[in-house]
Symmetry: C2
Subunit: 188 residues, 2 copies
């Protein structure tokens, strides 16, 4: 997606150690026009999957996933990192290591909003090592729902996440794939 790549080149900052800062349009500030285009592009790629729900993880997955959910007209569920007092007992819970935060987080989804009859698309901001996405995949498996697609706004191809998800045999779509940060540059 050229518009996204242009934005990454213009505003993204490589901070070293494989970390890309895109806080100006996705991870702290959100560019709503860009998110709308991101949502449209996901919707175009996933429109034939007969999905019934989109699943993401708080926090940074919410904006791109909501943009797509608006166009596909599907309910969006975001996995919580802490169980709120409003959540029913015995939620689906999986552990994931956060790459950029270096900490372990729980991802928690209530069975009220993920059913065995669902066809689920997982959407997130990044596909890197796929640790967060693998936790979401496990949550979908626990629910008995069928996972029909995975999407990420930005992929770091060199971190192996796509390979780790290949066994699922479903479409995996990223809108901008970074091949390397060689020479401290963003290389698509």
């Amino acid at each position: 997606m050229q518009l996204l790549k242009d934005k990454i080149l213009k505003e993204g900052k490589y901070l070293g150690k494989g970390i890309l800062k895109v806080d100006s349009f996705m991870n702290h500030q959100i560019d709503p026009a860009l998110m709308n285009e991101v949502g449209k592009e996901f919707a175009r790629r996933f429109k034939d999957l007969k999905a019934t729900r989109i699943l993401t993880a708080e926090t940074s997955g919410i904006a791109p996933a909501l943009a797509c959910a608006m166009i596909l007209e599907l309910p969006l569920v975001f996995a919580r990192k802490h169980k709120p007092v409003t959540m029913a007992e015995n939620p689906f819970t999986e552990r994931a290591e956060s790459h950029t935060k270096g900490s372990i987080v729980d991802l928690i989804v209530s069975p009220e909003y993920l059913k065995a009859e669902d066809r689920v698309i997982i959407l997130d901001d990044f596909l890197a090592s796929a640790r967060t996405i693998k936790a979401l995949v496990a949550i979908v498996a626990s629910s008995g729902a069928e996972l029909v697609g995975i999407g990420a706004v930005i992929e770091k191809s060199f971190e192996g996440g796509r390979d780790a998800l290949k066994y699922l045999n479903i479409p995996i779509e990223s809108l901008a794939a970074i091949k390397s940060f060689d020479n401290e540059q963003i290389n698509f």
Copy 2:
């Protein structure tokens, strides 16, 4: 906003102790069509404020604030609860007590995305005691920006948040105001 009130009456659950569960359309699962209407209504009420940025707090404020930001075509900044490695040093930081979680959280905004020349609308999911919103107000004050409006999807009028913000002398808009939970009912 009648559509929202109908949704609250249909799907909201009063859990006691002043806590309203709206996890089916805002706080865990998001109804994108409803959020779009919420965004439109905020945009209609705030369109003449000449705002330059919208500020919310992760997590549940993001969806309604993004829906509004898409229509007003304004950048949306969400305050982080933990400082990510990508954030610049010396961010604006304020402490707030979470009503539903019973815990203290930090709200953190980078000075990169909140400038003295900004005109800011604060949007959040709930206006109850206004503890979160007061922390956001303090962040806007720290930045030197001008706060021009405050909006919340659902207000619990009996918790005094609106009164606590009155001194600001700016428009405070909620789309559904709950007067009481008397008789374990949701009373608008």
